[in-house]
């Protein structure tokens, strides 16, 4: 077909415009010409002008003045003019325009034209922009064409009918019988149109669906012909015969076989054949296989077929082609398997079916967890945890924790889930699990009784899983009284005697499987029980004193201090060993569980829980520090706690970090500054910057008088936004004449970078029988550069 010279000249002119302004100028001039020429009645170049206008329209310029010209061109007897006119109608008119109604008559006439190409123009335009009114008007004509015309028109009429049905659902009834007949045609275009039409009819009308079930054998026949038949050059795409038609038939079969045994049976063999025979090396083959799998999963297919489908899915997930991996993992697992159970069992099937890697199955399972399926999903995840390869256990455990925290339907369920993980894969959980769980338990006060009972039982069975043992010891120490009381609302009561509890704790202490920090937990728990039990306090005393000569320095130190609690500070013991208060949670970056962008997999890297450091302002709290210091990072400084990208191989325990912080700081070479000097008592201060906002201060006190000073304490206060943490002092007595000093460390965190940091110190002591108290303000800190 020879190109339109005027059109091409205009296009060239527009393209050669160097600026937007120039372009607009050219277009304005052209449009003016076109408008003028439209006004002329008889014009040879009408189609050229309209074509020009359509080009301008595609560039984004207004072209509505061409609408009437389209109407006129459509009414022309000349094919070339009709062709451009109809194209114009499709581009410039839509059902909302009034002008569109004006072409209804032309369309009607053209549908009856003797030339099939004219008919085709009308059909195409009607399918593109036909309004509901036009559709109603012309439906009978379309139906006529569906039955009595050549293949070329039939296929176009079929899709035009699809448009009509989408616009006016009631008209579906009209086309149903014709659609049925079309299935007997040989022409692929017609068959395809017929399948699409039948699909549309079934989707909008359940009655039609019932009736069209009878077509299943015909569809199976057609499909078989495509799959088995030899090479057909007309329809072949990379060795597959008419994949477009195959996919549409598969989709229709899916609709017809859904929830219907008979129909599903009838298509079973065919689906198996397609699944096994289709070549999956190219995209086109995979497109057909993908549709097949969707169908198999959605109908009542027999188990052999389902296994086949799952295997195909597995292969897809390993395919080199990114497209296939994406399509399958997104679509199939979230939409095709519609019920929760199906989806979950699909995940597990995928894991067990060769050769999908379990990490992929885990990833997918975690991506599918939601508030609605959390219970059933967690069951599967927990069973996966017990059977998965060891290198995945840590990741699985982390994923489970995150999922549990996000979607836990109840606190009891949450605690149960975590306990289950600790008993199954305790050795593989990350270290921050222990304090996190302790925090969770503390904050769930209604369940203290239940939790301690459960933990006691778990501990009784197995003392090898360190995280579990640590949590259990801590709980028994805290809530031992609830345990001994025997009754518990949530569980059947079990009689636990004090001796039983102490036996278990002693077993942990003595076991070679217990790590040093676990032993620390156990010892502390034993100590705490001394205020919660009534009869066996002596036993506790003896346990504690034994460890006073333990080789492990940490344990020895604790034991010695606890001994001191028994002897010298017995009056304070009850207060010191009181129940822990509810811990403030300060977790980072919690997203709304509904946000679709976040998956649990992403969150695996993010979790950091920081506890607010507590204001330690007196002796009691100092000691509490000591007791609490075995549970990192509840009271750690905020400088602690970085994220690890993957839970594999976290270096050291958080407790180790804490100890580092405590022990690893040497006083700097910077000269300490005296901040208080009165009556022979001096306090000096030296400080060292730990991080961008962290500062550690060492206060040293000495006594140059002739009499000893007892009960020496320091208290500190800082501006509101600054966090303060006082470590235990080295002692509380200052012997005379500077024989020994008392040092105390204070850690400050200044996240808001408060300038002119100040600290107020209160000094109290007893000297020669009288109490002295004094306050001093520290305005500048040596070594704190600006």
């Amino acid at each position: 077909m020879s190109p339109s010279v005027p059109l091409q000249e205009m296009i060239r002119a527009i393209r050669s415009a160097r600026t937007q302004c120039e372009e607009r100028g050219v277009i304005q001039r052209e449009c003016a010409t076109i408008r003028a020429q439209f006004r002329q009645a008889d014009n040879e170049g009408r189609s050229h002008n309209l074509a020009k206008l359509l080009y301008v329209h595609m560039l984004g310029y207004p072209a509505h003045f061409g609408q009437m010209e389209c109407v006129r061109m459509i009414a022309s007897p000349r094919y070339s003019e009709k062709r451009v006119g109809y194209l114009g109608a499709m581009m410039l008119l839509d059902e909302k325009q009034d002008a569109s109604l004006l072409i209804t008559n032309s369309i009607k006439n053209d549908l009856a034209n003797s030339n099939q190409y004219v008919q085709s123009l009308a059909l195409c335009t009607l399918a593109c922009m036909g309004s509901a009114e036009m559709c109603r008007d012309l439906a009978p004509e379309i139906n006529r064409l569906l039955r009595a015309s050549n293949s070329y028109i039939k296929k176009k009429a079929a899709l035009c009918a699809v448009h009509i049905v989408r616009k006016v659902q009631d008209l579906g009834e009209l086309f149903a019988p014709s659609a049925r007949c079309l299935l007997t045609e040989k022409n692929h275009g017609v068959l395809h149109g017929a399948v699409v039409l039948i699909t549309e009819l079934c989707e909008c009308n359940p009655e039609s669906l019932e009736r069209f079930r009878k077509t299943v054998p015909d569809l199976v026949q057609i499909m078989k012909g495509l799959v088995i038949s030899g090479y057909s050059p007309d329809h072949d795409v990379a060795g597959i015969s008419d994949p477009f038609l195959q996919v549409r038939i598969l989709r229709l079969l899916r609709i017809l076989g859904h929830n219907n045994e008979a129909a599903s049976d009838a298509m079973n063999d065919l689906l198996a054949q397609v699944a096994t025979n289709t070549d999956s090396t190219k995209t086109v083959g995979n497109a057909v296989l993908y549709e097949t799998v969707l169908t198999v999963l959605d109908i009542k297919s027999e188990s052999g077929l389902r296994v086949l489908a799952v295997n195909i899915l597995g292969r897809f997930l390993l395919n080199n082609d990114r497209n296939i991996r994406l399509v399958v993992s997104q679509n199939i697992l979230t939409s095709a398997a519609t019920t929760q159970k199906q989806r979950i069992s699909l995940c597990i099937q995928l894991y067990f079916s060769f050769p999908i890697p379990p990490s992929r199955a885990l990833e997918l399972s975690l991506a599918l967890v939601s508030a609605s399926n959390i219970r059933s999903m967690m069951k599967e995840l927990l069973s996966f945890l017990s059977s998965c390869p060891p290198e995945l256990r840590s990741q699985t455990a982390s994923g489970i924790f995150i999922a549990a925290e996000r979607y836990a339907p109840s606190q009891r369920w949450h605690i149960d889930t975590i306990l289950h993980v600790l008993t199954t894969a305790g050795g593989d959980v990350r270290d921050e699990t222990v304090p996190n769980l302790i925090q969770l338990i503390t904050n769930t006060s209604e369940l203290h009784c239940y939790t301690v009972h459960k933990l006691y039982r778990a501990l009784h069975n197995d003392i090898s899983q360190q995280p579990l043992v640590q949590v259990a010891c801590w709980c028994i120490g805290e809530y031992g009284d609830l345990l001994l009381r025997g009754e518990c609302q949530e569980m059947e009561p079990v009689q636990v005697t004090e001796d039983d509890v102490l036996d278990v704790l002693e077993a942990v202490l003595q076991s070679h499987m217990s790590s040093p920090s676990t032993r620390g937990f156990a010892l502390t728990a034993t100590m705490k029980l001394s205020t919660r039990i009534t009869e066996n306090v002596d036993r506790i005393r003896s346990i504690v004193s034994i460890y006073g000569s333990c080789i492990d320095v940490e344990l020895q130190q604790r034991a010695v201090e606890y001994n001191a609690l028994f002897k010298k500070y017995d009056h304070m013991r009850a207060a010191v060993l009181e129940r822990m208060p509810v811990i403030e949670k300060n977790s980072q970056g919690h997203t709304n569980g509904d946000s679709t962008g976040e998956t649990i997999k992403e969150n695996l890297a993010v979790k950091v829980k920081q506890a607010e450091p507590q204001q330690a302002a007196n002796q009691v709290c100092d000691l509490l520090d000591l007791l609490g210091g075995s549970e990192p990072p509840l009271q750690s400084s905020p400088a602690l706690g970085s994220t690890a990208p993957l839970p594999v191989g976290t270096a050291g325990t958080a407790g180790g970090d804490l100890l580092d912080l405590l022990g690893g700081l040497e006083p700097t070479a910077i000269m300490p500054v005296s901040v208080y000097d009165k009556d022979g008592v001096t306090v000096t201060l030296s400080c060292e910057k730990q991080s961008d906002s962290g500062l550690s201060i060492t206060l040293t006190a000495s006594n140059s008088t002739d009499s000893d000073i007892r009960g020496f304490t320091l208290q500190a206060a800082v501006p509101k936004s600054v966090q303060l943490h006082m470590k235990a002092p080295s002692g509380d007595s200052l012997p005379a004449r500077g024989a020994a000093k008392v040092t105390q460390m204070v850690v400050l965190n200044n996240p808001n970078k408060v300038v002119n940091l100040k600290m107020r110190l209160r000094i109290s002591y007893t000297s020669q029988g009288s109490a002295v108290q004094d306050t001093v303000q520290v305005d500048s800190f040596p070594g704190l550069g600006h």
Partner: protein, 158 residues
Amino acid sequence: MRFLLLFSRQGKLRLQKWFTPLTDREKKKVIRDMMMLVLARPARSCNFLQWRDLKIVYKRWYASLYFCAGLEDHDNELLALEVLHRYVELLDKYFGNVCELDIIFNFEKAYFILDEFLMEGEILETSKVAVGVSLEEADTLQEGEAKEAWRPLSAGAC
């Protein structure tokens, strides 16, 4: 399929086919969004993305042209890639080694070809040969008219 767009790397629209009624404003918005999304994609990413409630399939062609189709939920994306590929083949066969300039200067023919291949967002003809034949015959019909117009005014001329 809801729409099919063809645009250049520089953001110039070369073809737009809409299979659902939208206002001009809505169409412009879709075009802007598609260009923004597709042109920003890195070289070896996959051909699918999600936009509103539609699945978007796009295919880069000759380094400077992008085909972009908006699919509904139940449409098979992998097959859509084949549909785009088929359209390119049809263009190629018609123009003979087609390039972007062919589509610019003969845009109305690109539409005619599309209208023989797709209709109402569905495939109309699955055979390449059949599409080629109907295009040829339609063109012949058009040529015949043009020739007729130049026939001397004798019996039968319009």
